[in-house]
C-alpha cells in the first residue's frame, strides 16, 4: 500500500529538492555572474571619500529608512519590515530549518521557541496580506505592480502558511502538509532566479554600488 | 521495576532530573477529576479515567501522586494477579491498579465513585458461592 502523503514528502525531500536546488543555486549564480561580468569603467575622478568603506556601510545603513518618509507609505514600510523580519525569524531560527543548514554547511546556531517562531510567522503572513492589499489599492503600488509581484508575494506566503498549518496540524494530514510546505519552498526556490526575489541577494550589490558612488564624492548615502 | 506508566512514581527521587519532565497533562486531568467529583455529588454519575490512554511524563505522575495522596481505604484483591484498590486523600476518588500474576501492571484507572464496582461481590460469583456453600453443607451433613 502506498502512503501518498509519505511518498509526496519523500519526493519533496528527495528529487524535487535536488531539482529546485539546482535551479535555485545555478540560477542565482548565473544572474550574479551576469551582473559582475558586465563590469564598470574605472572612475578617473579623484575620490573625495572612501568608496569601498561607504559602499560596505551602505549595505547595512540602508536598512533604516530616512526620517519622515514612513508616514507617506506606512503599509509598504511597516508591512515590509514586519514581513522581512518575520520571514527571517521563521526561516533562520526554527530548529528544523537550522538542522538543514547544519546538514548542508556544518554550521549551527541556537533556535528559538515555538511561540516566537509562530508569532513571527503569523505576523509575517498578516504583513503579506497588507502588502498585497496595498498593491491593489495604493495608486503608486498599483501603477508599479506586475504579475511578477503578485506571484512573488504568493510564493513567499505559501511556505509560511503551509509551515504554520503543518506544525499546528490545523487541518489536513500533517505529513501531507509537511510535503506541501517543502514543495512550496521549492516553488519559491525555482521562481527565485527568474523573479525579483533575486533582490534577496542582489540588494547587497546594489546598495554597495550606491554607497560607493556617493561615497566617492564624499556625499551621504 | 518495569511497571507500566508508574516506574517513576516508585523509583524517582526528588533530585532525579527525569522526574521533572512533564507533558502538562496532569493539571487538565486533575480538573477532569474535580468536575467528575462534583457531578457525582450532584447527580450520582460515576466516572472512570483510563490512565493508559494519556501520555504521561514522570513529572506528571509526581504531580498526580502529590495532589491526590493516600486516603483511608486500601484493598488488595487477589484475582489472576493482584489488584490494588485505594481511596485517595480526596474521598470519592479511587485509584484502581490491575496487575498480572507477575506483578506487572495491566491497566490503571482513576474512578470517581462512592464504591468501585470491582470491590463489590459479583452476582454470578455469589450464585457460585451459594452453590459451593450448599455443597459444603451437604458434605458436612454426610459426614456427621
Amino acid at each position: 500500500m502506498n502512503n501518498q502523503a509519505f511518498d509526496l514528502l519523500m519526493w519533496a525531500r528527495g528529487p524535487a529538492f535536488d531539482i529546485a536546488l539546482m535551479i535555485f543555486a545555478g540560477g542565482i549564480v548565473l544572474r550574479i555572474v551576469e551582473i559582475f561580468v558586465l563590469g564598470r569603467k574605472k572612475d578617473l575622478a579623484p575620490a573625495k571619500g572612501n568608496p569601498v568603506a561607504q559602499g560596505l556601510k551602505t549595505i547595512f545603513s540602508r536598512s533604516v529608512p530616512r526620517e519622515g518618509l514612513v508616514k507617506f507609505a506606512p503599509i509598504t514600510y511597516i508591512g515590509g519590515y514586519i514581513f522581512h523580519i518575520g520571514f527571517f525569524i521563521a526561516f533562520f531560527f526554527f530548529a528544523p530549518h537550522i538542522a538543514l543548514f547544519t546538514d548542508a554547511f556544518g554550521v549551527s546556531w541556537p533556535s528559538t521557541g515555538r511561540v516566537i517562531v509562530e508569532s513571527a510567522t503569523a505576523l509575517a503572513l498578516l504583513a503579506l496580506i497588507a502588502l498585497i492589499y496595498s498593491r491593489f489599492t495604493d495608486p503608486v503600488r498599483k501603477a508599479l505592480t506586475t504579475f511578477d509581484d503578485y506571484l512573488v508575494l504568493v510564493l513567499s506566503g505559501l511556505p509560511l502558511l503551509t509551515g504554520y498549518i503543518a506544525v499546528n496540524k490545523l487541518f489536513g494530514d500533517p505529513t501531507m502538509m509537511m510535503a506541501f510546505h517543502i514543495l512550496s519552498v521549492e516553488a519559491l526556490m525555482i521562481a527565485f532566479p527568474f523573479t525579483k526575489l533575486m533582490h534577496a541577494f542582489s540588494f547587497a550589490i546594489s546598495r554597495y554600488y550606491n554607497g560607493a558612488i556617493q561615497g566617492r564624492k564624499g556625499a551621504e548615502s | 521495576m518495569d511497571n507500566r506508566h508508574s516506574y517513576c512514581a516508585t523509583t524517582s527521587k526528588p533530585d532525579d532530573v527525569l522526574s521533572f519532565v512533564a507533558t502538562g497533562n496532569a493539571a487538565p486531568l486533575l480538573h477532569e477529576i474535580k468536575h467528575a467529583l462534583s457531578k457525582l455529588l450532584d447527580s450520582g454519575v460515576e466516572h472512570i479515567i483510563d490512565l493508559g490512554a494519556i501520555p504521561f511524563g514522570p513529572g506528571d505522575e509526581r504531580i498526580l501522586d502529590d495532589v491526590l495522596g493516600d486516603g483511608e481505604v486500601s484493598a488488595t484483591l487477589t484475582i489472576m494477579g493482584e489488584s490494588h484498590v485505594r481511596e485517595t486523600k480526596i474521598p470519592g476518588v479511587w485509584r484502581v491498579d490491575h496487575l498480572d500474576e507477575k506483578g506487572q501492571f495491566q491497566s490503571r484507572f482513576i474512578e470517581i465513585t462512592f464504591m468501585p464496582d470491582i470491590l463489590k461481590t459479583q452476582r454470578e460469583d455469589a450464585v457460585q458461592g451459594l452453590e459451593t456453600l450448599a455443597g459444603r453443607l451437604d458434605t458436612l451433613k454426610g459426614n456427621s
Binding site: R13, I23 | N3, G52, I54, M80, Q106, S107, F109, I118
Partner: protein, 362 residues
C-alpha cells in the same frame, strides 16, 4: 474446532471468578484503547465470542513480529486471548513440521473455510515468486490460496502491511505487502517493526469482540495509529521550547531534550509507542534516548536516513548544488560575455555626436 462461545466454559475450567473476568475486561478495554465505559459491552461480547481458527503465515520476515508477540507471554490477558483462539498453523510455534504441518493448514482451512482469521507476517516477493517458498509452495500462491477462505486478514508488521524492509530500495525480490495482492478481503494492517505486542493482541481482541476496528487510510486501526508519536511524546515540550539534543552525548541528550535534530521521525509517524510503550510499559525508543525511526509508516527504510532530520533533504543534494553552482557560473559567464560583446559592439558602433546631430532628420 468448536465454533460455540467458549470463554465462560474456559473460565469455569480455570476456576476464574466473575470479578476476575471484570478485571480482565477492564484491562482489555485499556489495551484496545476503548473507553472504560465500554467494559460491560466488552464483557457481553466476550461471553458470546466464538473461538475462531487462526492461520499464521510467515513469508519474507525475520520472526521479529512473532518474537514481539511472544514477549507478552503467559499468563497475561494476551494469553487468555490466545486461549480464546485456535492457532492452527504457525511455522515457528507449532510442533508439527514438514508434510504434517502443511496438512494441518489444509485441514484448518477446510474445516473453517470462510471463517478463519489469516495472520500474515513478512512481505511477499512478486518479481520471482521463487525467491521465497514454503514446502515448495511460493509465498504468493500460499497467500492467495489461504486468503481465499479467510474471513479477514491481519497483516502483522510493516513487511506484511506495506512490504517493509524487503520493499526497501532497490527491492530486489519485488517484495510487496498483502494488500497489494489481496483485494477482496478485509485487511487490518498492524504495522511496526515489530508492532507493540499489546497492539497486536488488542487488535485481535477487538476483532473477536467487535469485529473489524475503525481503520485509517492505510488500513491501520485508528485506536492505535490515530496520532503521531510527536503529538503524544513526553519530550514534546522541549520541541516547543526549541530545546534539542544535537548529539547523542551532549547536554541535550542527557537532559532528555527533543531528538528532532538527531533524525526523529515522530512528527510523521503514527503509532501508540508514546502511550502504550514497550516491554510492558517500561519505555519506548525516544524515552531510551533514540529518535523514532518511523517504522509504522510505509517505506520507512527509504526516508533518507534514520539520523537525518526530517527537514533535511533526503538525497545527495550537495552534489546537485555544487554542479548547479558550477553550471550556473559557466552559463552566466557565457551569457555575460555575450552581453559584453554586445556592449563592445555598441561601443564600436558609437557615432560620435556633436551638438548639431541631436535632431531627427524627419
Amino acid at each position: 474446532m468448536s465454533n460455540k462461545a467458549m470463554l465462560p466454559e474456559l473460565m469455569k475450567t480455570h476456576g476464574i471468578s466473575r470479578r476476575a473476568f471484570m478485571k480482565y475486561c477492564a484491562s482489555l478495554a485499556s489495551v484496545m484503547a476503548l473507553s472504560p465505559a465500554m467494559v460491560p459491552r466488552i464483557a457481553e461480547a466476550l461471553e458470546n465470542a466464538r473461538r475462531p481458527s487462526v492461520i499464521w503465515l510467515s513469508f519474507q520476515e525475520c520472526t521479529g513480529c512473532t518474537e514481539s508477540i511472544l514477549r507478552s507471554h503467559s499468563p497475561t490477558i494476551e494469553d487468555l486471548i490466545f486461549n480464546a483462539i485456535s492457532l492452527d498453523y504457525h511455522h515457528t510455534l507449532q510442533a508439527a513440521s514438514g508434510h504434517a504441518a502443511e496438512a494441518a493448514r489444509e485441514q484448518a482451512m477446510k474445516e473453517n473455510y470462510g471463517k478463519y482469521i489469516l495472520v500474515v507476517d513478512g512481505s511477499i516477493p512478486i518479481k520471482d515468486p521463487g525467491y521465497s517458498c514454503i514446502a515448495g509452495i511460493s509465498n504468493l500462491d500460499m497467500l492467495k490460496e489461504t486468503a481465499a477462505g479467510a474471513a479477514a486478514i491481519v497483516s502483522v508488521g510493516t513487511c506484511a502491511a506495506y512490504g517493509g524492509i524487503g520493499h526497501a530500495d532497490p527491492n530486489p525480490t519485488g517484495a510487496v505487502g498483502v494488500s497489494e495482492i489481496i483485494k477482496d478481503k478485509p485487511i487490518i494492517n498492524v504495522p511496526g517493526c515489530p508492532p507493540i505486542p499489546v497492539v497486536m493482541t488488542g487488535v485481535l481482541a477487538h476483532f473477536l469482540t467487535f469485529g473489524i476496528p475503525d481503520l485509517d487510510e492505510l488500513g491501520r486501526p485508528k485506536a492505535f495509529y490515530g496520532e503521531s508519536i510527536h503529538d503524544r511524546c513526553y519530550r514534546r515540550p522541549f520541541y516547543d521550547k526549541g530545546m534539542f539534543a544535537e548529539n547523542f552525548d551532549d547536554e541535550g541528550a542527557r537532559g532528555g531534550w527533543c531528538l528532532y535534530k538527531l533524525g526523529c521521525k515522530g512528527p510523521i509517524t503514527k503509532s501508540a509507542c508514546a502511550t502504550i510503550k514497550w516491554n510492558n510499559g517500561v519505555s519506548f525508543p525516544i524515552e531510551a534516548g533514540h529518535p523514532c525511526l518511523g517504522c509504522t509508516e510505509p517505506d520507512f527504510w527509504d526516508n533518507g536516513g534514520f539520523y537525518k532530520p526530517l527537514s533535511v533533504p533526503a538525497g545527495d543534494y550537495r552534489k546537485a548544488g555544487v554542479a548547479a553552482v558550477a553550471g550556473g557560473a559557466a552559463i552566466g559567464v557565457a551569457s555575460a560575455l555575450m552581453s559584453k560583446a554586445k556592449k563592445a559592439k555598441a561601443a564600436k558602433a558609437h557615432e560620435t555626436v556633436d551638438a548639431h546631430d541631436l535632431e531627427k532628420s524627419s
